[in-house]
């Protein structure tokens, strides 16, 4: 069989008399292969969208959290700026956001706290439509997303991770790009935004010459182009020097003071305590506590007393044997006693009586104010014990 015979056996003849060889068959095979590959990928997606099997999860078993604090979760008058129910985001078998129930009241400065890798940034990226959720519902400004994502994001400004821009463009040109994408009158807010973050003098310089702090400020200016109802700032203090942190803190406070909702994601507890009035704590992708900071700390119930006395070691032994406290610790300043949850001030007087009765001189008793950090650590340590 010669070449022509082979061609005749496997080919077809085109309208111009030219021969289309078995190449057509090869092309058809390629197309079929592509379709098959697409079908496999689709089936993988369908499988991913099902609830994960816990046994397949490689991460250590997440501690069973205490029920989320119910305090102040009744719907506020202004509604929720952020509302999620059962929000889940998986990367392969890893669950980054695990059925998150989050409620952020409008007009609040809200801290989203958690250790590194807890899923804070992933939650924000999911809310903003930067990545797709696998399950659950969410809304921003009472507008469901992703169904009405464009409408919801029209008044949302966000910094996710380190703010990066086109380094070869000036700060103003970068904002022009974003204002063009925003549409409406966003371009008229470029100069006021630059002025507000203190970049008016450097707006004509290329962003490549900006310091980290200046890029953070440009990120805030980009947020302000939306005249946002809701600001979501992911680790905004990262990379800032103390002066920069002070300025950023003042900026966030002033934005919150204007009635805008500010969601601040951070692992810096001190920053969140200074800036926010409500928090949610996230760990292993789950929200384990949320509510106003004061109520959460009060609700923790632990009363800590600093005891300035003679013979602190003997005092510690005495208190432990008497079962007066949940915990004791020797410190440089004396003895720190953590009373049991729900203990009243009467317990402090009882402690004093026992020490004096045992012949230990007591020079002072001081109630220690529980900080957000103390509370956070106590919550996470309880979780650690539970696991």
């Amino acid at each position: 069989m010669n070449t022509n015979d082979l061609l005749a056996a496997g080919g077809v003849t085109g309208p111009h008399g030219q021969h289309f060889g078995p190449g057509l068959g090869i092309v058809a095979l390629l197309v079929l292969g592509a379709l098959g590959y697409g079908a496999v990928r689709l089936s993988q997606r369908v499988r991913l969208s099902r609830p994960p099997r816990r046994a397949a999860r490689p991460a250590p078993p997440a501690p069973q959290p205490a029920p989320a604090s119910p305090v102040s979760l009744a719907r506020p008058d202004g509604g929720w700026a952020v509302e999620t129910h059962g929000l889940t985001k998986r990367f392969g078998p890893t669950v980054a956001v695990d059925g998150v129930e989050l409620l952020v009241p409008r007009g609040s400065a809200f801290g989203y706290l958690g250790p590194n890798g807890a899923g804070k940034t992933t939650l924000i990226r999911t809310l903003l439509g930067l990545t797709k959720a696998n399950a659950g519902t969410m809304s921003l400004r009472d507008i469901p997303v992703p169904a009405e994502r464009s409408r919801a994001l029209a008044r949302v400004g966000a910094i996710v991770d380190e703010p990066r821009f086109h380094g070869h463009l000036t700060g103003r040109d970068n904002l022009r790009l974003l204002a063009a994408a925003r549409g409406g009158d966003a371009d008229q807010r470029i100069d006021p935004s630059l002025a507000r973050v203190g970049l008016a003098d450097r707006a004509g310089d290329k962003v490549g010459t900006y310091s980290m702090g200046m890029r953070q400020r440009l990120g805030v200016a980009a947020c302000l182009l939306a005249d946002p109802d809701l600001l979501m700032l992911d680790e905004p203090m990262n990379g800032l020097d103390p002066a920069g942190m002070h300025e950023m803190r003042a900026m966030i406070a002033s934005l919150a003071g204007e009635g805008r909702t500010v969601v601040l994601s951070s692992h810096l507890l001190d920053e969140v305590e200074r800036t926010c009035d409500a928090v949610a704590i996230v760990d292993h992708g789950r929200v384990i506590r949320q509510g106003p900071i004061d109520e959460l700390i009060r609700g923790a119930g632990a009363l800590v007393v600093q005891v300035d006395c003679a013979e602190p070691a003997r005092a510690k032994q005495l208190i432990e044997e008497a079962g007066l406290a949940a915990g004791t610790a020797l410190a440089h300043a004396g003895l720190t006693v953590t009373l049991r949850a729900g203990a009243s001030r009467e317990a402090v007087a009882d402690l004093n009586r026992r020490l004096v009765g045992a012949g230990i001189d007591v020079y002072g008793l001081r109630e220690v104010q529980t900080s957000l950090e103390d509370w956070f650590l106590s919550v996470t340590s309880r979780l650690g014990e539970a696991s």
């Binding site: 085109g14 996710v160 703010p163 990066r164 994408a181 925003r182 109802d229």
Partner: protein
């Protein structure tokens, strides 16, 4: 940063201060400001713009600049700067380098938002991702189209004003000095009337050879009648190749060039958006243009000829305007070697018009669709 600066509130834009209509950021059609700012973003990449100019403008400037200079210095030693052959070669230069430059521009347009971290900011605006992708197309074409037009315009100017006058006779197959502007019947009559000239030429089909007796008049007439269509094709090619293309032919060639370079931009944009990697995209596009296409266009694989026809370079060569394709002489693929144009599609079995259009549209729509799909589904 200070809170004593003029605030947004002072600018009358505090939250809740006037519930204005929300901009329709969900619409898939890009807005004019979106296109112009994206164009600005690309234009301000100085290195990229210099590369574009070096690849598209400079070769033509050097090609004709040197010829003009030499002719001015020594008119007897060096002929006029322009000619139909030079026109074809310069056009091939623009096409080859323009393809690579446009592909690089497309790759940059498709990847820099990602690599610079701006994609995330853009998505957060709520603007449709499809609109963000589509805005890149006119923004990039607004750069490639004028550059190609400028280079080709120089080519046309030099060819129009610096070419020798068109010959009044046509040479083909060794038959010299046939009058120009003949139709097929007129050519057949002329050949029959000049059978002695024909017998001395190299027309395919004529009997004879070294040592063989000369063909008889009857044999020559029979061969001419039988092969007149082939001869007329060669005559036409010879006529076109020896003449300066008229304005309308130059216009067609210009449109073909813009289409070729525009496709390169769109494919670069789509492939860049798919991979997210500029360097990889540029390397693949260069390999496609200077290695894969010439190899497959010059080598016919009997069992894969339809696969070869799916190559954009082969389809575009089929569309190559006649004046350009024939300029290097009858039977030749184009002006240059394997690198600089002349992919040899003239010698490639022709493909039907519908197939050619389908391949070209397939590359345009296919790669644009792939790029847009990736942009719409990519995690930001």
């Amino acid at each position: 940063m200070t809170t004593t600066e003029p605030s947004l509130s002072e600018a009358g834009s505090a939250p809740g201060a006037g519930r204005r209509a929300m901009p329709r950021t969900g619409a898939w059609l890009p807005t004019w400001p979106l296109i112009t700012t994206k164009n600005l973003e690309i234009r301000k990449r100085r290195g990229l713009m210099i590369t574009m100019v070096v690849l598209i403008i400079v070769p033509t400037v050097l090609f004709y600049g040197l010829r003009l200079l030499f002719h001015a210095v020594d008119p007897h030693g060096y002929g006029l700067a322009g000619s139909p052959q030079f026109f074809s070669q310069a056009t091939n230069l623009i096409e080859e380098f323009g393809f690579i430059a446009a592909a690089a521009l497309g790759a940059a347009a498709g990847t820099t938002d990602l690599s610079d971290g701006m994609f995330r900011h853009l998505v957060i605006t709520g603007r449709s991702r499809l609109a963000l992708y589509l805005a890149r197309i006119p923004a990039g074409l607004a750069i490639t189209v004028p550059l190609v037009a400028l280079a080709f315009g120089m080519n046309c100017l030099v060819t129009s004003y610096q070419s020798p006058p068109n010959p009044t006779t046509v040479s083909f197959y060794g038959v010299n000095a046939a009058p120009d502007n003949l139709n097929q019947a007129e050519l057949q009559t002329w050949l029959l009337q000049h059978s002695q000239q024909v017998a001395n030429g190299f027309l395919p089909g004529l009997p004879g050879g070294p040592g063989a007796p000369p063909a008889s008049l009857t044999q020559i007439r029979t061969v001419i009648d039988h092969n007149i269509a082939t001869y007329y094709g060669a005559y036409t090619a010879g006529e076109i190749s020896g003449s300066t293309p008229p304005i309308n032919e130059m216009f067609k060639i210009g449109l073909w060039l813009e289409l070729d370079v525009g496709i390169a931009f769109l494919v670069g944009l789509g492939f860049g958006s798919l991979t997210g990697q500029r360097t990889t995209t540029v390397i693949v596009m260069i390999a496609l243009e200077i290695i894969v296409t010439p190899l497959l266009a010059h080598t016919q694989l009997p069992y894969f000829i339809d696969g070869q026809r799916l190559l954009i370079g082969v389809a575009m060569d089929q569309l190559r305007p006649a004046a350009l394709a024939a300029a290097a002489g009858p039977g030749q693929g184009g002006g240059g070697g394997i690198l600089l144009g002349g992919r040899g599609a003239i010698g490639f079995p022709p493909m039907p018009t519908w197939a050619m259009i389908a391949v070209i549209l397939g590359w345009i729509i296919g790669w644009s669709g792939i790029g847009a799909w990736r942009m719409m589904t990519r995690d930001a």
